[in-house]
């Protein structure tokens, strides 16, 4: 069964450093997403991406964040200058199409620790 994959599984970085989190969505899916989950808290939406453009973003997704589909398979989340409060699990998801009734399938996550 096709799955969303993410690398690395755990990333440790110093405050102020840039990090890039990588995802390979399910191959025939067209919509891609990033969510995050701070330890012990809810899963929160960050951004959705379709046709090489951001289609929706939350207030969390400020200028420090960017997303890119650098090739036909990868989808990345970049945090330019990490802060302590960026420490969280970051989940990538993908869906066949957008809007309601199209299931979003999640990857295993990358645990980001900012020191």
């Amino acid at each position: 069964e096709p799955e969303v994959t993410q690398t690395p599984s755990h990333q440790v970085t110093q405050m102020g450093q840039e990090v890039i989190l990588r995802c390979v969505p399910i191959s025939n899916h067209l919509y891609f997403y990033w969510y995050r989950q701070i330890l012990g808290q809810k899963v929160e939406f960050l951004v959705s991406f379709y046709n090489n453009e951001i289609s929706e973003k939350s207030e969390i997704f400020d200028d420090q964040f960017s997303v890119e589909r650098p090739d036909g398979s990868n989808f990345t989340l970049k945090i330019r200058s990490t802060k302590l409060e960026d420490s969280a699990m970051y989940f990538c998801a993908s869906s066949l199409a957008g809007g309601s009734s199209h299931t979003q399938y999640f990857g295993p996550g990358t645990r980001l620790t900012v020191l």
Binding site: Y31, L39, G40, Q41, V43, G99, S100, Q104, F106, P108
Partner: protein, 111 residues
């Protein structure tokens, strides 16, 4: 400031019993609802979904009930097994692509 973690409700059931996990959603405009299961250290795993034009949907060992009048969603798991132990999240979708997740419920299955 210091973040405070959520104190998730916990449901403890005996293996073989049925489990019912409840969720109150917030947006009356939401028209699609999903239950996800999250095991420790893993991402949310799709279990079952339901659209707002339905009030019940059944899967294998799972049933989702939707009550739009009171904005309530429930997940019923029949013959609960140890492998069902996890955190269960409901999520709602109103417009656009954003899923809004609930706080989660811990399900513990006792053998």
């Amino acid at each position: 400031g210091e973040s405070v973690g959520l104190h998730l409700p916990t449901l403890s059931v005996q293996e073989g019993d049925n489990s019912i996990i409840n969720c109150a959603y917030s947006n009356s405009a939401s028209d699609y609802f999903i239950w996800y299961k999250q095991e420790s250290g893993k991402g949310p795993q799709f279990i079952i979904d339901i659209r707002s034009n339905m009030d019940k949907r059944q899967g294998q060992r799972v049933t989702v009930l939707l009550n739009k009048t009171v904005k309530h969603l429930s997940l019923q798991i029949a013959a609960t097994q140890p492998g069902d132990s996890a955190v269960y999240f409901c999520a709602e979708q109103a417009y656009g692509n954003k899923l809004v997740f609930g706080a989660g419920t811990i399900l513990r299955v006792k053998s």
